[in-house]
Protein backbone atom coordinates (compact mmCIF):
# COMPACT_ATOMS: atom_id res chain seq x y z
CA UNK A 1 0.00 0.00 0.00
CA UNK A 2 2.64 2.48 1.14
CA UNK A 3 4.98 1.36 -1.63
CA UNK A 4 2.30 2.10 -4.24
CA UNK A 5 1.82 5.71 -3.14
CA UNK A 6 5.54 6.38 -2.81
CA UNK A 7 7.19 4.15 -5.45
CA UNK A 8 10.58 2.76 -4.46
CA UNK A 9 13.61 4.72 -5.60
CA UNK A 10 15.51 3.25 -8.55
CA UNK A 11 19.28 3.22 -8.29
CA UNK A 12 21.36 2.57 -11.38
CA UNK A 13 24.38 0.47 -10.47
CA UNK A 14 27.66 0.99 -12.32
CA UNK A 15 27.32 -2.46 -13.92
CA UNK A 16 23.96 -1.52 -15.46
CA UNK A 17 21.66 -3.32 -13.01
CA UNK A 18 18.89 -1.37 -11.29
CA UNK A 19 18.16 -1.80 -7.60
CA UNK A 20 14.93 -0.75 -5.94
CA UNK A 21 15.28 1.00 -2.62
CA UNK A 22 12.06 1.04 -0.62
CA UNK A 23 11.13 4.44 0.74
CA UNK A 24 11.63 4.82 4.47
CA UNK A 25 8.54 4.51 6.67
CA UNK A 26 10.00 6.89 9.24
CA UNK A 27 8.20 10.06 7.96
CA UNK A 28 4.86 8.27 8.14
CA UNK A 29 5.57 7.08 11.69
CA UNK A 30 6.62 10.58 12.73
CA UNK A 31 3.51 12.15 11.17
CA UNK A 32 1.28 9.61 12.96
CA UNK A 33 3.00 10.26 16.30
CA UNK A 34 2.71 14.03 15.81
CA UNK A 35 -1.01 13.76 15.02
CA UNK A 36 -1.48 11.55 18.07
CA UNK A 37 0.41 14.04 20.21
CA UNK A 38 -1.70 16.95 18.96
CA UNK A 39 -5.02 15.26 19.73
CA UNK A 40 -3.82 13.92 23.07
CA UNK A 41 -2.66 17.34 24.18
CA UNK A 42 -6.03 18.80 23.21
CA UNK A 43 -7.96 16.05 24.99
CA UNK A 44 -6.03 15.95 28.23
CA UNK A 45 -5.61 19.73 28.75
CA UNK A 46 -1.86 19.24 28.85
CA UNK A 47 -0.32 22.47 30.03
CA UNK A 48 3.42 22.83 30.44
CA UNK A 49 3.03 26.13 32.31
CA UNK A 50 1.20 24.38 35.08
CA UNK A 51 4.14 22.03 35.59
CA UNK A 52 6.53 24.96 35.74
CA UNK A 53 4.24 26.86 38.10
CA UNK A 54 3.18 24.01 40.39
CA UNK A 55 5.90 21.46 39.86
CA UNK A 56 7.61 22.46 43.08
CA UNK A 57 4.64 21.00 45.02
CA UNK A 58 5.60 17.54 43.81
CA UNK A 59 9.13 17.97 45.13
CA UNK A 60 7.74 19.37 48.37
CA UNK A 61 5.75 16.17 48.85
CA UNK A 62 8.87 14.10 48.23
CA UNK A 63 10.88 16.28 50.62
CA UNK A 64 8.29 15.75 53.33
CA UNK A 65 8.57 11.99 52.82
CA UNK A 66 12.24 12.14 53.78
CA UNK A 67 12.98 11.31 56.53
CA UNK A 68 10.16 8.78 56.92
CA UNK A 69 8.22 8.64 60.18
CA UNK A 70 9.61 5.63 62.04
CA UNK A 71 6.90 5.76 64.72
CA UNK A 72 4.43 4.74 62.05
CA UNK A 73 6.13 1.35 61.67
CA UNK A 74 4.02 -0.59 64.24
CA UNK A 75 0.84 0.38 62.39
CA UNK A 76 2.23 -0.91 59.12
CA UNK A 77 3.00 -4.53 60.08
CA UNK A 78 -0.51 -5.98 60.06
CA UNK A 79 -1.62 -4.50 56.72
CA UNK A 80 1.75 -5.39 55.20
CA UNK A 81 1.42 -9.00 56.32
CA UNK A 82 -2.17 -8.98 55.02
CA UNK A 83 -0.86 -7.81 51.65
CA UNK A 84 1.72 -10.60 51.52
CA UNK A 85 -0.80 -13.21 52.67
CA UNK A 86 -3.32 -12.05 50.08
CA UNK A 87 -0.84 -12.26 47.25
CA UNK A 88 0.57 -15.61 48.41
CA UNK A 89 -2.83 -17.25 48.79
CA UNK A 90 -4.14 -15.77 45.56
CA UNK A 91 -1.03 -16.79 43.64
CA UNK A 92 -0.98 -20.37 44.94
CA UNK A 93 -4.66 -20.99 44.33
CA UNK A 94 -4.59 -19.13 41.01
CA UNK A 95 -1.67 -21.06 39.62
CA UNK A 96 -3.24 -24.36 40.74
CA UNK A 97 -6.54 -23.42 39.10
CA UNK A 98 -4.65 -22.46 35.94
CA UNK A 99 -3.68 -26.10 35.27
CA UNK A 100 -7.14 -27.40 34.25
CA UNK A 101 -7.79 -24.28 32.15
CA UNK A 102 -4.44 -24.59 30.41
CA UNK A 103 -5.17 -28.29 29.83
CA UNK A 104 -8.46 -27.43 28.15
CA UNK A 105 -6.93 -24.59 26.13
CA UNK A 106 -4.04 -26.52 24.59
CA UNK A 107 -4.94 -27.87 21.19
CA UNK A 108 -2.48 -30.77 21.24
CA UNK A 109 -4.12 -32.42 24.28
CA UNK A 110 -7.81 -31.64 23.91
CA UNK A 111 -8.68 -32.10 20.29
CA UNK A 112 -11.80 -29.99 20.28
CA UNK A 113 -11.75 -26.59 18.70
CA UNK A 114 -14.82 -25.46 20.63
CA UNK A 115 -13.33 -26.26 24.06
CA UNK A 116 -9.92 -24.78 23.13
CA UNK A 117 -11.41 -21.53 21.90
CA UNK A 118 -13.79 -21.23 24.83
CA UNK A 119 -11.01 -21.72 27.38
CA UNK A 120 -8.75 -19.26 25.55
CA UNK A 121 -11.41 -16.58 25.29
CA UNK A 122 -12.16 -17.03 28.98
CA UNK A 123 -8.48 -16.61 29.87
CA UNK A 124 -7.95 -13.55 27.69
CA UNK A 125 -11.14 -11.87 28.91
CA UNK A 126 -9.92 -12.32 32.48
CA UNK A 127 -6.52 -10.99 31.50
CA UNK A 128 -7.82 -7.77 29.99
CA UNK A 129 -9.52 -6.74 33.23
CA UNK A 130 -7.17 -4.53 35.25
CA UNK A 131 -6.62 -6.08 38.70
CA UNK A 132 -7.95 -3.00 40.44
CA UNK A 133 -11.25 -3.21 38.56
CA UNK A 134 -11.58 -6.90 39.41
CA UNK A 135 -10.88 -6.03 43.04
CA UNK A 136 -13.51 -3.30 42.93
CA UNK A 137 -16.11 -5.73 41.64
CA UNK A 138 -14.98 -8.31 44.20
CA UNK A 139 -15.51 -5.87 47.06
CA UNK A 140 -19.16 -5.62 46.05
CA UNK A 141 -19.60 -9.38 45.94
CA UNK A 142 -17.41 -10.51 48.85
CA UNK A 143 -17.55 -7.43 51.04
CA UNK A 144 -14.71 -5.11 52.00
CA UNK A 145 -11.59 -6.86 53.22
CA UNK A 146 -8.82 -9.22 52.28
CA UNK A 147 -11.12 -11.82 50.72
CA UNK A 148 -11.95 -9.46 47.85
CA UNK A 149 -8.26 -8.74 47.30
CA UNK A 150 -7.44 -12.45 47.34
CA UNK A 151 -10.13 -13.12 44.74
CA UNK A 152 -8.78 -10.36 42.49
CA UNK A 153 -5.23 -11.72 42.75
CA UNK A 154 -6.53 -15.26 42.21
CA UNK A 155 -8.30 -14.29 38.97
CA UNK A 156 -5.32 -12.34 37.66
CA UNK A 157 -2.90 -15.19 38.41
CA UNK A 158 -5.27 -17.70 36.84
CA UNK A 159 -5.37 -15.75 33.59
CA UNK A 160 -1.66 -14.98 33.45
CA UNK A 161 -0.28 -18.38 34.43
CA UNK A 162 -3.00 -20.11 32.41
CA UNK A 163 -2.02 -18.35 29.20
CA UNK A 164 1.71 -18.97 29.58
CA UNK A 165 1.13 -22.58 30.68
CA UNK A 166 -1.00 -23.53 27.68
CA UNK A 167 1.60 -22.03 25.36
CA UNK A 168 4.24 -24.18 27.05
CA UNK A 169 2.07 -27.30 26.85
CA UNK A 170 1.57 -26.72 23.13
CA UNK A 171 5.32 -26.42 22.62
CA UNK A 172 6.12 -29.53 24.67
CA UNK A 173 7.53 -32.58 22.94
CA UNK A 174 4.70 -34.99 22.12
CA UNK A 175 6.79 -38.14 21.60
CA UNK A 176 6.50 -39.58 25.09
CA UNK A 177 2.85 -38.55 25.30
CA UNK A 178 2.01 -40.53 22.18
CA UNK A 179 4.10 -43.48 23.37
CA UNK A 180 2.21 -43.58 26.65
CA UNK A 181 -1.15 -43.29 24.94
CA UNK A 182 -0.22 -46.19 22.67
CA UNK A 183 0.60 -48.24 25.79
CA UNK A 184 -3.02 -47.80 26.83
CA UNK A 185 -2.83 -44.92 29.27
CA UNK A 186 -5.74 -42.50 29.36
CA UNK A 187 -5.19 -38.99 28.18
CA UNK A 188 -4.97 -37.46 31.65
CA UNK A 189 -2.56 -40.17 32.84
CA UNK A 190 -0.32 -39.57 29.84
CA UNK A 191 -0.54 -35.82 30.42
CA UNK A 192 0.47 -36.29 34.05
CA UNK A 193 3.41 -38.57 33.21
CA UNK A 194 4.69 -37.12 29.93
CA UNK A 195 3.76 -33.45 29.54
CA UNK A 196 3.61 -32.29 33.14
CA UNK A 197 7.26 -33.06 34.00
CA UNK A 198 8.31 -31.16 30.88
CA UNK A 199 6.42 -27.98 31.71
CA UNK A 200 6.79 -28.18 35.50
CA UNK A 201 9.99 -26.09 35.91
CA UNK A 202 8.65 -23.36 33.63
CA UNK A 203 5.28 -23.48 35.30
CA UNK A 204 6.78 -23.04 38.77
CA UNK A 205 9.00 -20.24 37.51
CA UNK A 206 6.04 -18.45 35.92
CA UNK A 207 4.03 -18.79 39.10
CA UNK A 208 6.87 -17.37 41.18
CA UNK A 209 7.26 -14.48 38.75
CA UNK A 210 3.55 -13.82 38.94
CA UNK A 211 3.73 -13.88 42.74
CA UNK A 212 6.43 -11.19 42.65
CA UNK A 213 4.22 -8.96 40.54
CA UNK A 214 1.21 -9.75 42.70
CA UNK A 215 2.88 -8.33 45.81
CA UNK A 216 3.16 -5.05 43.95
CA UNK A 217 -0.44 -5.24 42.75
CA UNK A 218 -1.75 -6.25 46.17
CA UNK A 219 -0.17 -3.16 47.66
CA UNK A 220 -2.63 -0.90 45.87
CA UNK A 221 -5.74 -3.08 46.08
CA UNK A 222 -6.46 -1.63 49.51
CA UNK A 223 -7.33 1.60 47.76
CA UNK A 224 -10.68 0.19 46.66
CA UNK A 225 -11.17 -1.44 50.07
CA UNK A 226 -9.82 -4.87 49.19
CA UNK A 227 -7.52 -5.12 52.21
CA UNK A 228 -3.82 -4.67 52.68
CA UNK A 229 -1.52 -1.71 52.80
CA UNK A 230 -3.23 0.36 50.11
CA UNK A 231 -5.76 1.70 52.58
CA UNK A 232 -2.97 3.17 54.74
CA UNK A 233 -1.40 4.77 51.67
CA UNK A 234 -4.69 6.37 50.75
CA UNK A 235 -5.24 7.62 54.31
CA UNK A 236 -1.71 9.01 54.55
CA UNK A 237 -2.05 10.96 51.33
CA UNK A 238 -5.57 12.08 52.21
CA UNK A 239 -4.38 13.56 55.51
CA UNK A 240 -1.23 14.94 53.86
CA UNK A 241 0.79 12.91 56.34
CA UNK A 242 3.57 12.41 53.80
CA UNK A 243 6.17 11.24 56.32
CA UNK A 244 4.02 8.19 57.05
CA UNK A 245 3.53 7.61 53.34
CA UNK A 246 7.28 7.69 52.96
CA UNK A 247 7.61 5.06 55.70
CA UNK A 248 5.04 2.82 54.00
CA UNK A 249 6.76 3.19 50.64
CA UNK A 250 10.14 2.39 52.18
CA UNK A 251 8.83 -0.75 53.89
CA UNK A 252 7.07 -1.74 50.68
CA UNK A 253 10.20 -1.26 48.62
CA UNK A 254 12.23 -3.40 51.02
CA UNK A 255 9.58 -6.13 51.05
CA UNK A 256 9.24 -6.21 47.28
CA UNK A 257 13.02 -6.26 46.90
CA UNK A 258 13.40 -9.13 49.40
CA UNK A 259 10.67 -11.20 47.78
CA UNK A 260 12.09 -10.56 44.32
CA UNK A 261 15.56 -11.64 45.43
CA UNK A 262 14.31 -14.89 46.99
CA UNK A 263 12.09 -15.75 44.06
CA UNK A 264 14.79 -14.88 41.54
CA UNK A 265 17.13 -17.29 43.35
CA UNK A 266 14.62 -20.12 42.97
CA UNK A 267 13.70 -19.19 39.41
CA UNK A 268 17.34 -19.36 38.37
CA UNK A 269 17.55 -22.82 39.94
CA UNK A 270 14.43 -23.97 38.14
CA UNK A 271 15.22 -23.00 34.57
Amino acid sequence: MYDKIFPPKKIQMPNGKTVLEKRSRTPLVIILIMAGLFFSIELTNFDINQIIKNGYKFYMIIEEMIPPKWEHLPNIWTPLMDTIKMSLLGSVLGSLAAIPFAYLASSNIVKSNVINTAARIFLSLLRTMPALVTALIATFVFGLGTLAGTVAIFLFTLSYVGKLLYEQIENAGMGSFEAMESLGMTKSQAFRQAIFPQVLPNYLSTSLFCFEGNVRHAAILGYVGAGGIGLLLDEGIGWRDYASVGMILLVLAITVFAIETVSEHFRKKLV
Binding site: S40, T44, K57, K85, L89, M129, V133, I220
Partner: protein, 268 residues
Protein backbone atom coordinates in the same frame (compact mmCIF):
# COMPACT_ATOMS: atom_id res chain seq x y z
CA UNK B 1 18.83 -55.38 37.38
CA UNK B 2 18.23 -54.26 33.83
CA UNK B 3 19.22 -51.05 32.14
CA UNK B 4 16.01 -49.17 32.80
CA UNK B 5 16.08 -49.87 36.51
CA UNK B 6 19.69 -48.79 36.72
CA UNK B 7 18.84 -45.47 35.14
CA UNK B 8 15.92 -45.11 37.53
CA UNK B 9 18.13 -45.61 40.58
CA UNK B 10 20.81 -43.37 39.15
CA UNK B 11 18.48 -40.36 39.23
CA UNK B 12 19.62 -37.78 41.77
CA UNK B 13 17.59 -37.83 44.96
CA UNK B 14 17.62 -34.57 46.91
CA UNK B 15 14.59 -35.44 48.99
CA UNK B 16 15.75 -33.46 52.00
CA UNK B 17 15.91 -30.26 49.96
CA UNK B 18 12.58 -30.89 48.27
CA UNK B 19 10.84 -31.79 51.53
CA UNK B 20 12.23 -28.69 53.25
CA UNK B 21 10.99 -26.43 50.46
CA UNK B 22 7.62 -28.20 50.44
CA UNK B 23 7.36 -27.88 54.22
CA UNK B 24 8.17 -24.15 54.16
CA UNK B 25 5.66 -23.62 51.37
CA UNK B 26 2.95 -25.49 53.28
CA UNK B 27 3.59 -23.46 56.41
CA UNK B 28 3.46 -20.21 54.40
CA UNK B 29 0.26 -21.33 52.70
CA UNK B 30 -1.47 -22.19 55.96
CA UNK B 31 -0.26 -18.90 57.41
CA UNK B 32 -1.68 -17.00 54.45
CA UNK B 33 -5.09 -18.66 54.76
CA UNK B 34 -5.52 -16.74 58.00
CA UNK B 35 -5.80 -13.54 55.95
CA UNK B 36 -9.18 -14.54 54.63
CA UNK B 37 -12.10 -14.14 56.93
CA UNK B 38 -15.50 -15.10 55.66
CA UNK B 39 -17.19 -12.79 58.15
CA UNK B 40 -17.19 -9.90 55.73
CA UNK B 41 -19.25 -11.78 53.18
CA UNK B 42 -22.78 -10.57 53.28
CA UNK B 43 -25.93 -12.29 52.12
CA UNK B 44 -26.38 -9.61 49.49
CA UNK B 45 -23.15 -10.63 47.74
CA UNK B 46 -24.79 -13.32 45.67
CA UNK B 47 -27.61 -11.08 44.48
CA UNK B 48 -25.07 -8.39 43.60
CA UNK B 49 -23.06 -10.93 41.61
CA UNK B 50 -26.23 -11.88 39.72
CA UNK B 51 -26.95 -8.19 39.12
CA UNK B 52 -23.43 -7.59 37.82
CA UNK B 53 -23.64 -10.48 35.39
CA UNK B 54 -27.07 -9.43 34.16
CA UNK B 55 -25.75 -5.87 33.84
CA UNK B 56 -22.88 -7.05 31.65
CA UNK B 57 -25.23 -9.16 29.56
CA UNK B 58 -27.71 -6.30 29.11
CA UNK B 59 -25.44 -3.26 28.82
CA UNK B 60 -26.69 0.28 28.57
CA UNK B 61 -26.49 0.49 24.78
CA UNK B 62 -27.28 4.19 24.73
CA UNK B 63 -24.20 4.92 26.83
CA UNK B 64 -22.08 2.53 24.81
CA UNK B 65 -22.96 3.97 21.43
CA UNK B 66 -23.24 7.72 21.99
CA UNK B 67 -20.29 9.86 21.05
CA UNK B 68 -20.78 12.96 23.21
CA UNK B 69 -18.59 13.75 26.18
CA UNK B 70 -20.48 11.38 28.50
CA UNK B 71 -20.44 8.34 26.25
CA UNK B 72 -18.16 5.36 26.65
CA UNK B 73 -16.48 6.10 23.32
CA UNK B 74 -15.34 9.56 24.41
CA UNK B 75 -14.06 8.25 27.74
CA UNK B 76 -12.13 5.52 25.97
CA UNK B 77 -10.57 8.05 23.58
CA UNK B 78 -9.61 10.15 26.59
CA UNK B 79 -8.03 7.09 28.21
CA UNK B 80 -6.10 6.37 25.01
CA UNK B 81 -4.93 9.99 24.90
CA UNK B 82 -3.71 9.80 28.51
CA UNK B 83 -1.85 6.57 27.85
CA UNK B 84 -0.38 7.86 24.57
CA UNK B 85 0.88 11.18 25.88
CA UNK B 86 2.14 9.53 29.06
CA UNK B 87 4.04 6.95 27.05
CA UNK B 88 5.66 9.65 24.92
CA UNK B 89 6.69 11.68 27.99
CA UNK B 90 7.96 8.58 29.75
CA UNK B 91 9.93 7.38 26.77
CA UNK B 92 11.60 10.76 26.31
CA UNK B 93 12.52 10.98 30.00
CA UNK B 94 13.77 7.40 29.96
CA UNK B 95 16.35 7.95 27.20
CA UNK B 96 18.90 9.95 29.27
CA UNK B 97 18.31 7.70 32.29
CA UNK B 98 18.89 4.63 30.13
CA UNK B 99 22.22 5.95 28.85
CA UNK B 100 23.16 6.94 32.41
CA UNK B 101 22.49 3.43 33.68
CA UNK B 102 24.17 1.53 30.83
CA UNK B 103 27.42 0.29 32.35
CA UNK B 104 29.19 0.32 28.98
CA UNK B 105 28.50 4.05 28.50
CA UNK B 106 29.12 5.68 31.90
CA UNK B 107 31.36 4.81 34.87
CA UNK B 108 30.14 2.02 37.18
CA UNK B 109 29.18 4.18 40.23
CA UNK B 110 27.01 6.49 38.09
CA UNK B 111 25.29 3.49 36.52
CA UNK B 112 24.70 1.97 39.95
CA UNK B 113 23.21 5.18 41.39
CA UNK B 114 20.92 5.63 38.40
CA UNK B 115 19.74 2.04 38.72
CA UNK B 116 18.99 2.57 42.40
CA UNK B 117 16.98 5.67 41.51
CA UNK B 118 15.08 3.70 38.88
CA UNK B 119 14.25 0.94 41.38
CA UNK B 120 12.76 3.55 43.72
CA UNK B 121 10.78 5.17 40.91
CA UNK B 122 9.46 1.74 39.93
CA UNK B 123 8.39 0.63 43.42
CA UNK B 124 5.97 3.47 44.07
CA UNK B 125 2.58 2.27 42.84
CA UNK B 126 0.92 4.23 40.02
CA UNK B 127 -1.98 5.19 42.22
CA UNK B 128 0.31 6.91 44.71
CA UNK B 129 1.85 8.97 41.93
CA UNK B 130 -1.67 9.74 40.77
CA UNK B 131 -2.65 11.03 44.19
CA UNK B 132 0.55 13.07 44.39
CA UNK B 133 0.11 14.65 40.97
CA UNK B 134 -3.47 15.56 41.73
CA UNK B 135 -2.02 17.83 44.41
CA UNK B 136 0.05 19.49 41.68
CA UNK B 137 -2.33 19.83 38.77
CA UNK B 138 -5.74 19.30 40.30
CA UNK B 139 -7.95 16.35 39.35
CA UNK B 140 -8.29 15.64 35.64
CA UNK B 141 -6.64 13.84 32.76
CA UNK B 142 -3.51 16.02 33.03
CA UNK B 143 -2.60 14.38 36.35
CA UNK B 144 -3.11 11.02 34.66
CA UNK B 145 -0.69 11.93 31.87
CA UNK B 146 2.05 12.86 34.33
CA UNK B 147 1.43 9.72 36.37
CA UNK B 148 1.63 7.43 33.36
CA UNK B 149 4.74 9.29 32.25
CA UNK B 150 6.62 8.77 35.48
CA UNK B 151 5.50 5.17 36.04
CA UNK B 152 6.67 4.18 32.56
CA UNK B 153 10.20 5.43 33.15
CA UNK B 154 11.38 2.47 35.20
CA UNK B 155 10.52 -0.30 32.79
CA UNK B 156 11.25 1.72 29.66
CA UNK B 157 14.77 2.62 30.68
CA UNK B 158 15.49 -0.95 31.73
CA UNK B 159 14.43 -2.24 28.30
CA UNK B 160 16.28 0.62 26.58
CA UNK B 161 19.45 -0.38 28.42
CA UNK B 162 19.10 -3.94 27.15
CA UNK B 163 18.70 -2.59 23.61
CA UNK B 164 21.73 -0.30 23.99
CA UNK B 165 23.89 -3.08 25.39
CA UNK B 166 22.83 -5.44 22.60
CA UNK B 167 23.78 -3.02 19.82
CA UNK B 168 25.40 -4.77 16.88
CA UNK B 169 28.88 -3.23 17.11
CA UNK B 170 30.20 -5.00 14.02
CA UNK B 171 28.26 -2.50 11.92
CA UNK B 172 30.10 0.32 13.68
CA UNK B 173 33.46 -1.38 13.19
CA UNK B 174 32.88 -1.79 9.47
CA UNK B 175 31.82 1.86 9.26
CA UNK B 176 35.03 2.89 11.00
CA UNK B 177 37.03 0.82 8.55
CA UNK B 178 35.52 2.58 5.54
CA UNK B 179 36.22 5.97 7.15
CA UNK B 180 32.95 7.22 8.58
CA UNK B 181 33.00 10.09 11.08
CA UNK B 182 31.45 9.75 14.53
CA UNK B 183 28.33 11.65 13.52
CA UNK B 184 27.87 9.45 10.48
CA UNK B 185 28.32 6.38 12.64
CA UNK B 186 25.64 7.60 15.02
CA UNK B 187 23.29 8.57 12.21
CA UNK B 188 23.66 5.47 10.04
CA UNK B 189 24.98 2.91 12.50
CA UNK B 190 23.26 3.46 15.84
CA UNK B 191 20.04 5.39 15.21
CA UNK B 192 18.52 2.92 12.70
CA UNK B 193 19.16 0.04 15.09
CA UNK B 194 17.83 1.79 18.17
CA UNK B 195 14.88 3.56 16.53
CA UNK B 196 12.93 0.43 15.72
CA UNK B 197 13.86 -1.25 19.01
CA UNK B 198 12.80 1.79 21.02
CA UNK B 199 9.60 2.09 19.02
CA UNK B 200 8.79 -1.53 19.70
CA UNK B 201 9.45 -1.05 23.43
CA UNK B 202 7.27 2.07 23.44
CA UNK B 203 4.39 0.21 21.80
CA UNK B 204 4.71 -2.55 24.38
CA UNK B 205 4.62 -0.06 27.21
CA UNK B 206 1.68 1.79 25.63
CA UNK B 207 -0.26 -1.45 25.81
CA UNK B 208 0.44 -1.68 29.54
CA UNK B 209 -0.17 2.01 30.12
CA UNK B 210 -3.63 1.71 28.66
CA UNK B 211 -4.58 -0.65 31.49
CA UNK B 212 -3.01 1.66 34.07
CA UNK B 213 -4.76 4.69 32.59
CA UNK B 214 -8.12 2.96 32.78
CA UNK B 215 -7.54 2.43 36.49
CA UNK B 216 -6.21 5.90 37.32
CA UNK B 217 -9.68 7.37 37.03
CA UNK B 218 -10.43 5.71 40.36
CA UNK B 219 -8.27 8.35 42.06
CA UNK B 220 -9.67 11.14 39.89
CA UNK B 221 -6.90 11.34 37.32
CA UNK B 222 -9.11 11.26 34.25
CA UNK B 223 -10.08 8.47 31.93
CA UNK B 224 -12.74 5.82 32.18
CA UNK B 225 -12.08 4.77 35.78
CA UNK B 226 -14.07 7.52 37.49
CA UNK B 227 -17.39 6.90 35.68
CA UNK B 228 -16.91 3.19 36.37
CA UNK B 229 -16.50 3.87 40.08
CA UNK B 230 -19.52 6.19 40.16
CA UNK B 231 -21.70 3.71 38.30
CA UNK B 232 -20.69 0.93 40.69
CA UNK B 233 -21.19 2.95 43.83
CA UNK B 234 -24.71 3.82 42.74
CA UNK B 235 -25.43 0.21 41.66
CA UNK B 236 -26.12 1.13 38.02
CA UNK B 237 -24.96 -2.24 36.74
CA UNK B 238 -26.09 -1.67 33.16
CA UNK B 239 -23.73 1.28 32.90
CA UNK B 240 -21.00 -0.76 34.56
CA UNK B 241 -21.61 -3.45 31.96
CA UNK B 242 -21.32 -1.08 29.02
CA UNK B 243 -18.15 0.54 30.40
CA UNK B 244 -16.53 -2.83 31.04
CA UNK B 245 -17.47 -4.11 27.58
CA UNK B 246 -15.98 -0.99 25.98
CA UNK B 247 -12.83 -1.30 28.04
CA UNK B 248 -12.32 -5.00 27.30
CA UNK B 249 -12.87 -4.51 23.57
CA UNK B 250 -10.43 -1.58 23.49
CA UNK B 251 -7.73 -3.45 25.40
CA UNK B 252 -8.08 -6.54 23.18
CA UNK B 253 -7.89 -4.46 19.99
CA UNK B 254 -4.85 -2.53 21.22
CA UNK B 255 -3.15 -5.73 22.34
CA UNK B 256 -3.65 -7.42 18.97
CA UNK B 257 -2.55 -4.32 17.06
CA UNK B 258 0.52 -3.79 19.21
CA UNK B 259 1.58 -7.43 18.93
CA UNK B 260 1.29 -7.22 15.16
CA UNK B 261 3.21 -3.95 14.91
CA UNK B 262 5.93 -5.17 17.22
CA UNK B 263 6.52 -8.40 15.38
CA UNK B 264 6.72 -6.39 12.15
CA UNK B 265 9.19 -3.95 13.70
CA UNK B 266 11.43 -6.66 15.08
CA UNK B 267 11.41 -8.84 11.98
CA UNK B 268 11.86 -5.76 9.79
Amino acid sequence: MNHVEKQLYAAPRNYLYLYTVAFILTVLFVWSVSAVSLNDVKESGLSIAVNIISGILTPDLELLLTFNSNGVAYLLVETIAIAFLGTIIGSILAIPLAFLSASNVVPKPVAFLTRLLLIFIRTVPAIVYGLMFIRVTGPGPFAGVLTIGITSIGMLSKLYVDAIENLDTSVLESMTSIGCTTMEKIRYGIVPQLFSMFLSIMIYRFDMNLRDASVLGLVGAGGIGAPLLFAMNSYRWNEVGSILIGLVILIIIVELASNKMRSKLIKG
